[in-house]
């Protein structure tokens, strides 16, 4: 489950970030390495909510620093 979600998130960002110079890995820091704005982070959460049919509570945002964090938090929510 976790691996599938992780891959899905990486693919999503690969599609959005049109820059081959940026290597997107599970350890990529969303705001630093990928230079995402908070708006783009919100949009990506929306996409994940739609894909998995879940609601991601605002308070879990704080725990999402890297791509792997996002995958971990989302896996927990989906499994609940």
């Amino acid at each position: 489950m976790y691996q599938e979600i992780l891959q899905n998130i990486i693919n999503y960002w690969k599609n959005i970030i049109d820059d081959d110079a940026i290597d997107i890995t599970p350890q990529s820091n969303l705001m630093d390495d990928l230079s995402l704005s908070s708006v783009e982070m919100l949009n990506s959460l929306l996409m994940l909510e739609d894909t998995y049919g879940v609601v991601i509570p605002e308070k879990s945002l704080r725990h999402m620093v890297t791509i792997e964090d996002v995958a971990r938090v989302l896996t927990e929510i989906v499994q609940k």
């Binding site: 929306l46 509570p57 308070k59």
Partner: protein, 504 residues
């Protein structure tokens, strides 16, 4: 869309404002909760439930009541009921850790904290707590009539980022909280206007916007979450949006993407050129020319009132070209929100408009200073900070600025050391520096803004891995907007002033 001049009213107190807003509007719709599938509340029900809740607040021993703010009707009931009961409400940010709430509870002498389930991370032990549904389910007798209070009675404590690293509690009165209705400038918030609110109420800007909407008899749509606003816009089709610059950028990127995807970018660029040329000749055809474009964008209103931090002229022009007006406003918690604002008739891009009629503004040593009845009583239990914040009876904003020859106020920078992010959040670098200095591997640190993010420059005295760990754990504790996004180590200590403070 009709822009009606709303009469200037002075209610004296927020309690009086609420009482009058309920008159003759019994069946009018007031709140619509998106979170609850469009749950609707009329004015009659609001008045009845508010007075019931006031009765319950009166039964409490607590005089200072904290409310964790979310965009729910029940939370709004609690916020106003405390003030109408003559007690002091402390609106607080949702989703904070229990640890970080402690300092607010302590600073504002909160005796009881009301919250909705899941909106606090951890368990608060420093004061009594109750969930909002539990509290509202308590038995209690509704007040048979509205109480009256003196104008100077304490009503609210809002927290702002202090500049010495500790948050300041800004004490506002019953009168301060009613000031927003003496706006004076044109507002499109006439009766039945639709407003979609999505900014959190622990900020005075958002709270007073809510109060203005209640006072004016708007239909108030409460957003399900900031995540869903784009979607909700097309359902609600609001007449006006009160926004922060970050949100304008979200809309702007949506518009640009929409234009790009439609394959009509060239055509629209041509229309903008034509329309701007006609405007120079005094003919404004933006409404008909761009109607289709706006309709295709789904629910973006023709008016955005934006505050919280600086809006770029480029962004204002982008919207202006296609007939969406951005009115930039300027204010602080300490001045009960608005100090100055642009209006439909007087809107100068890049400026924050003319001062509101109820306050005087002067420039002293390049600093913007404000005097008037909208100015706070002081910082709660902090006479020294209060004293430092005033020059006689003039409140020192800490912002640098000037008036142009037509009386428009411009802001050029800040005297105080404060990071103001595009979502309107203020972050004190000293607060983060103090937190970082608790790490043994950090000798000196300066926190600053870099490309819209928070950046830390560190002079280390230990291992990089330890520093990395400290920053990671801090980022997990703090709210997202305080996240230290990037950091770097330096080889030499910082330059110091004669008093051994780091020269920024």
């Amino acid at each position: 869309m009709k822009h009606k001049q709303v009469e200037q009213q002075n209610f004296g107190t927020v309690t009086e404002l609420l009482r009058q807003s309920c008159l003759n509007r019994e069946d009018q719709l007031l709140f619509i909760e998106k979170r609850k599938d469009g749950h609707r509340i009329t004015n009659r029900r609001w008045e009845q439930e508010l007075l019931e809740t006031v009765g319950k607040v009166r039964n409490l021993e607590a005089q200072h009541i904290g409310v964790i703010c979310d965009l729910t009707y029940q939370c709004i009931l609690c916020l106003y009921a405390v003030m109408v009961a003559g007690k002091v409400v402390v609106p607080l940010e949702a989703d904070l850790t229990a640890d970080s709430l402690d300092k607010y509870i302590h600073k504002a002498d909160i005796e009881l904290l009301l919250y909705n389930e899941d909106r606090i991370d951890g368990t608060v032990s420093r004061c009594e707590t109750l969930t909002i549904p539990e509290f509202l389910a308590r038995p209690g007798k509704a007040l048979s009539q509205w109480p009256t209070w003196e104008e100077g009675r304490n009503a609210c404590i809002f927290f702002t980022s202090g500049t010495e690293g500790e948050p300041n509690g800004v004490l506002l009165t019953q009168k301060n909280m009613a000031f927003v209705t003496t706006y004076g400038a044109e507002r499109p918030l006439n009766r039945n206007a639709r407003a979609l609110l999505f900014l959190p109420f622990h900020h005075v800007f958002s709270f007073l916007t809510l109060t203005a909407c209640i006072s004016d008899g708007c239909e108030i749509y409460l957003s399900g979450s900031i995540k869903y606003v784009s979607r909700e816009l097309s359902e609600v089709k609001p007449d006006v949006l009160v926004t922060v610059p970050m949100f304008n950028e979200l809309i702007r990127s949506r518009i640009s993407k929409g234009i790009h995807n439609s394959g009509k970018a060239g055509q629209i660029a041509g229309l903008i050129k034509l329309s701007n040329a006609l405007r120079r000749l005094g003919l404004d055809l933006r409404t008909p020319l761009f109607r289709k474009l706006r309709e295709s964008l789904g629910g973006i209103p023709q008016l955005l009132i934006t505050g919280g931090s600086a809006v770029s002229v480029e962004s204002i022009r982008f919207f202006d070209d296609i007939g969406i007006i951005v009115l930039q406003a300027y204010g602080m918690t300490e001045t009960s929100c608005s100090i100055s604002t642009n209006s439909l008739k007087k809107n100068r891009h890049g400026s924050v408009g003319h001062p509101r009629p109820y306050n005087q503004v002067r420039i002293k040593d390049s600093e913007i200073q404000v005097r008037g009845e909208n100015v706070m009583k002081g910082y709660y239990k902090d006479p020294q900070a209060t004293q430092r914040a005033f020059d006689g009876d003039w409140f020192r904003t800490g912002d640098l600025g000037y008036f142009d020859r037509d009386g428009y106020l411009f802001i050029t920078g800040r005297k105080k050391n404060l990071i103001i992010l595009s979502n309107g959040e203020n972050v004190s670098p000293e607060e983060l520096e103090t937190q970082l200095l608790q790490c043994d591997a950090i000798e000196e640190v300066v926190v600053m803004e870099r490309q819209g993010h928070i950046h830390a420059e560190i002079f280390p005295k230990g291992e990089e891995a330890v520093i990395r760990h400290a920053i990671d754990s801090l980022n997990h504790r703090n709210p997202v907007y305080k996240r230290i996004v990037s950091w770097e180590l330096r080889d030499t200590p910082f330059d110091k002033t004669s008093s051994l403070k780091i020269r920024r």
